[in-house]
């Protein structure tokens, strides 16, 4: 018995060694391929059956120092992607929905100006979710705050509760002008969805961020804040950022640099 054992330990073709080399080779191959596999998964999104997961936290980094005065590309892109009429073209501007808008800030002392886009901040502790009587306003597992228009009764309490005036009511019938991917309707409340239809099919980016990058400003960066290797996480570690109305302690999904 011991002879057999010593023989199998020492010879180059021993079954244990073969097994070990095989396992090592497999591990090395796996390690080499795995990053590619993971990258491929991120790029193509989840499969249909998989729901949103709390392992992911979608968020956005806004670099207000790069946001150009007078530029409305993000607003135009959002309205085109999601099918809402831009306020400039609306017959009733005060009642027109605005999922994203450009804010111009000025310091009265120094006259220093700052521009930034303002949209739903996708709070981790959303006041709109707290107050919704039917639970139509809800936070998805991956952090996107949405309105479930199947249960929205149009009470507008969430609009009263939002500290960022992010929500809009659809005041008139839309007459089948909706985008197929973005259902929205009269009497229900709506706001920025972080382009959830794009996120879910794997585009990995929002319309506003795409447009801002395409225009060369690069003020908007969308990504997974839970993934330490994502572009947004890396930038958040480099740049100092603030949350709007940080004193409310809502742990926002949108962070601003330069305010």
């Amino acid at each position: 018995m011991s002879e057999l054992k010593s023989m199998s330990d020492n010879t180059p073709n021993s079954p244990e060694r073969r097994r070990f080399i095989g396992a090592a080779a497999a591990t090395a191959a796996g390690l080499a391929i795995a990053p590619g596999v993971i990258l491929v998964e991120v790029a193509h999104g989840r499969s249909e059956e998989q729901g949103a997961s709390s392992a992911v936290r979608w968020g956005m980094l806004v670099d207000a120092t790069k946001c150009a005065t007078g530029c409305n590309d993000c607003v135009t892109a959002c309205s085109t992607e999601n099918g809402w009429t831009p306020v400039a073209e609306s017959a009733h501007p005060k009642q027109a929905p605005q999922w994203i808008r450009k804010l111009e800030l000025q310091d009265p002392l120094t006259q220093m100006e700052t521009n930034l886009p303002m949209m739903c901040q996708h709070c981790a502790e959303p006041p709109c979710v707290d107050v919704c009587p039917t639970g139509a306003s809800f936070k998805r597992a991956d952090g996107i705050v949405l309105v479930n228009r199947h249960t929205c009764i149009g009470c507008r309490y969430c609009m009263m509760a939002c500290p960022y005036k992010a929500r809009s009511l659809v005041h008139e019938p839309l007459n089948d002008t909706q985008k197929a991917d973005v259902p929205r309707g009269i009497g229900c409340v709506e706001s920025c969805t972080l382009c959830v239809q794009k996120v879910d099919r794997g585009d990995g980016n929002t319309a506003c961020a795409e447009a801002c990058t395409a225009a060369g400003h690069n003020a908007l960066l969308f990504g997974d804040m839970n993934d330490p290797e994502s572009e947004i996480s890396k930038r958040l570690r480099e740049l100092p950022t603030k949350q709007v109305r940080a004193d409310l302690n809502l742990n926002l999904g949108v962070r601003y640099h330069g305010i």
């Binding site: 989840r46 249909e48 059956e49 998989q50 729901g51 949103a52 809800f138 998805r140 597992a141 991956d142 949405l146 479930n148 228009r149 199947h150 019938p173 839309l174 089948d176 909706q178 985008k179 197929a180 991917d181 259902p183 929205r184 309707g185 009269i186 009497g187 229900c188 959830v196 879910d200 099919r201």
Partner: protein
């Protein structure tokens, strides 16, 4: 006397109703029967017809909660996919004209549907550019392969037919 009159009234009413409903009388013309056009694409629906007829609302109800709340976007019971197949070739919609797919049965059954206050009744892009619309599908792939920037639905539609 009163009791006799009451019994007589009941008997006469019953007789009248029975006569009206009997086969001997020609049927009164009622609401126009629904027009069920064959779907634009595909061989058959995702569920057998009789099951779909009875249960389509349950499938849609369950799927919409899964899609919105959990982000599970399977195609089988998706309203969008129903529309993709069942949109009328004439109107490009499931609810625009009186004999479009959804409206046709629902107006006959007098069951008001809420879906299209919010949902588009038309498939994404034009009906002509449907993936299963074989004549034009290969044009779309060709274009997409050559395109450097995004090609809009309008441009694609210009290529078709």
């Amino acid at each position: 006397m009163k009791r006799l009159l009451a019994v007589g009234a009941v008997v006469l009413t019953t007789a009248a109703l029975a006569w009206a409903g009997s086969e001997a009388q020609p049927k009164a013309s009622g609401a126009p029967k629904p027009v069920i056009t064959k779907a634009v694409k595909g061989e058959q629906c995702v569920e057998p017809t009789d099951i779909m007829r009875r249960n389509h609302m349950k499938f849609l109800d369950h799927h919409r909660d899964q899609a919105v709340i959990e982000g599970v976007r399977t195609k089988k019971h998706s309203l969008k996919e129903c529309i993709n197949c069942h949109a009328s070739e004439k109107t490009g919609s499931v609810a625009a004209a009186k004999d479009d797919f959804c409206v046709s049965c629902h107006s006959y059954a007098a069951v008001k549907i809420d879906c299209f206050d919010c949902h588009s009744t038309k498939p994404q892009g034009s009906v002509a550019m449907h993936p299963l619309n074989a004549e034009t599908a290969h044009y779309k792939h060709q274009l997409a392969a050559q395109a450097n920037s995004k090609v809009s639905a309008e441009e694609m539609a210009g290529v078709a037919q």
